[in-house]
């Protein structure tokens, strides 16, 4: 579904490439998480997958990037609508402002795609149900909480039934309630496995529970790629600027101090930690 070959991209008027010699293949239906320090290139990768890099931001791109059969170098974002969906961190900035109700907000993309009204109604109902917004369908998008607005952004994108969904830190500006709501929807998507999902997030415990695969970026390069429990417990994480859960930290220190038998795999989640310490 996504094939990246030796991708190097530099924003205009900068000298250091934001992405360097990146090669990656994400098969259809996979749930792939991207972690890394701020400035590592995660957002740039999200924009590259949706065509904003290079078509919106200009700059210099080398290498090849193919998403859902399209070569990004020659495919602008408008041609990817309906194939690739993007959700980013700020819920308010994803409200179009052109719509007076939640229902119409979800319809916005479908109208631009020329979907016939009967099909639109059905897709909107589905998207609202999936994101738990059915009761809020007639409310103004501006009268929603941050978490609700983010769910609305998700609904609006999911209604377009994209093959690939790209999420750039979808919960970093939400409170715990909103974060829980958004991740519940993503968990459902992960379970369905018919959409390819690329998620940038610092929520390591959640990623470890639901993602199929974790990729670590540092200074524009891919430095690790593998199953979550393996990648999120690697000792180099700190030097890569990536954190670890408290569960991993406690377990690693316990091993170093000889408090537990050696050789146990380090935990990332609560349930793994319980198993580790028992």
């Amino acid at each position: 579904m996504i094939t990246i070959e030796h991708l190097t991209y530099t924003y205009p008027a900068t000298s250091r490439p934001a992405l360097q010699d990146l090669s990656l293949h994400i098969p259809a239906g996979q749930f792939c998480a991207i972690v890394g320090a701020n400035g590592a290139g995660k957002s740039t990768l999200c924009y590259a997958l949706t065509g904003f890099v290079p078509h919106f931001y200009r700059g210099r791109m080398e290498g090849r990037l193919q998403v859902a059969g399209h070569d990004i170098a020659v495919t602008p974002p408008s041609a990817l609508v309906g194939l690739v969906g993007l959700v980013f961190a700020n819920p308010f900035n994803q409200i179009t402002g052109a719509c007076y109700t939640v229902r119409e907000e979800v319809a916005f993309g479908l109208e631009n795609l020329g979907v016939p009204p009967a099909a639109m109604e059905q897709r909107i109902a589905q998207a609202l149900a999936l994101t738990g917004l059915t009761d809020l369908a007639d409310r103004s998008p501006f009268a929603l909480s941050g978490g609700q607005q983010q769910r609305l952004a998700l609904a609006a994108v999911l209604a377009m039934q994209p093959r690939v969904l790209v999420l750039d830190e979808p919960t970093s500006q939400l409170d715990p309630v909103g974060t829980r709501e958004v991740f519940a929807i993503l968990a459902a998507l992960a379970a369905q496995q018919d959409t390819t999902v690329v998620l940038v997030s610092h929520a390591l415990e959640w990623v470890a529970t639901h993602a199929d695969r974790v990729i670590v970026l540092m200074a524009g390069r891919l430095v690790a790629d593998g199953p979550p429990t393996e990648v999120l417990t690697r000792p180099e994480l700190e030097s890569w600027g990536v954190g670890t859960t408290r569960y991993t930290q406690a377990a690693r220190r316990a091993q170093a101090q000889g408090l537990v038998p050696p050789g146990r795999p380090l935990p990332v989640t609560l349930s793994q930690a319980v198993a580790f310490w028992s």
């Binding site: 949706t50 904003f52 919106f56 974002p77 408008s78 041609a79 990817l80 609508v81 309906g82 690739v84 969906g85 993007l86 980013f88 700020n90 308010f92 900035n93 994803q94 409200i95 179009t96 402002g97 052109a98 719509c99 007076y100 229902r103 119409e104 319809a107 916005f108 993309g109 479908l110 109208e111 631009n112 795609l113 020329g114 979907v115 016939p116 009204p117 639109m120 109604e121 909107i124 103004s140 501006f142 009268a143 952004a153 609006a156 994108v157 377009m160």
Partner: protein, 256 residues
């Protein structure tokens, strides 16, 4: 939280197609300006605007809003024209100042016109949702980028205002004193305006990306969830209104 005057109603004037309401407003506007006599505009207001406003169940809001705009004009017109009309017939006064009849009549006539202009706009705005208007325009070939600006501006300005208030709070929290002499207030302007502008640029970029990824600039046929019912009766009515407007103008020019 949007900035529009629109008041939702289930029946009545609201259910007309936006174009019909637009032609109605235009007709009222022309009547207001072109009908002769001191009281011509008032006659049109009572005979046309009031019944329409009743039909739309917006009479009270219309009177309140119109009053807010028209009254200040009325007061200043009466004072200025009444007192300073050159070589007029004095009605009453004291000392060197006196109210002239011609001046008062002029003020009354002008107020009537302002009332009709304002009311025709208000009648339209109170009964038409901005996105319905935007869709009407888009269906008639106005580019979606322009109709978007129409609607989005109304919805986003209150947020802008809220942000300005937050910036004021933030800068005061850094010791910026906003009370005091004029010089101090002028110097306070940059720390208040710059974050608003710069921060908005960031927001605008993100919103542009969001719009783009929802197909805003995509070529090809577009559909609409919102349906604007139109009838042949209304289409005929619009044509009649156009003719009537023209007739009023012609009559006014002919009568002089």
């Amino acid at each position: 939280m949007a900035l529009s005057l629109y008041l939702p109603r289930a029946r009545g004037l609201h259910r007309l197609h936006p174009l019909t309401k637009l032609w109605l407003a235009l007709f009222l506007f022309i009547c207001g300006l072109a009908l002769p006599g001191v009281l011509g505009a008032y006659a049109a207001f009572v005979a046309l605007v009031v019944p329409l406003a009743l039909w739309g169940a917006v009479l009270r809001p219309l009177l309140v809003a119109a009053g807010r705009v028209v009254l200040p004009f009325a007061v200043s017109l009466v004072l200025v024209q009444g007192l300073f009309w050159p070589r007029g017939t004095p009605l009453f006064g004291w000392g060197p100042l006196s109210f002239k009849l011609e001046g008062l009549l002029f003020a009354v006539r002008s107020t009537g016109r302002i009332l009709m202009v304002v009311s025709s706009f208000l009648l339209f705005a109170l009964t038409t949702r901005p996105d319905a208007l935007a869709l009407t325009l888009a269906q008639r070939g106005v580019p979606k980028s322009l109709t978007y600006i129409l609607v989005a501006t109304l919805q986003i300005i209150p947020r802008f205002q809220a942000r300005a208030a937050t910036i004021l709070a933030a800068q005061q929290s850094r010791g910026l004193e906003i009370h005091g002499n004029l010089r101090r207030r002028v110097r306070a302007l940059l720390p208040l305006i710059a974050p608003l502008v710069l921060g908005s640029l960031v927001d605008i970029e993100e919103r542009a990306i969001a719009l783009e990824s929802r197909g805003f600039s995509r070529q090809g046929p577009k559909t609409s969830l919102l349906v604007l019912p139109d009838t042949r009766g209304q289409a005929l009515a619009r044509r009649l209104l156009a003719v009537a407007s023209l007739a009023v103008v012609v009559m006014r020019l002919w009568v002089g």
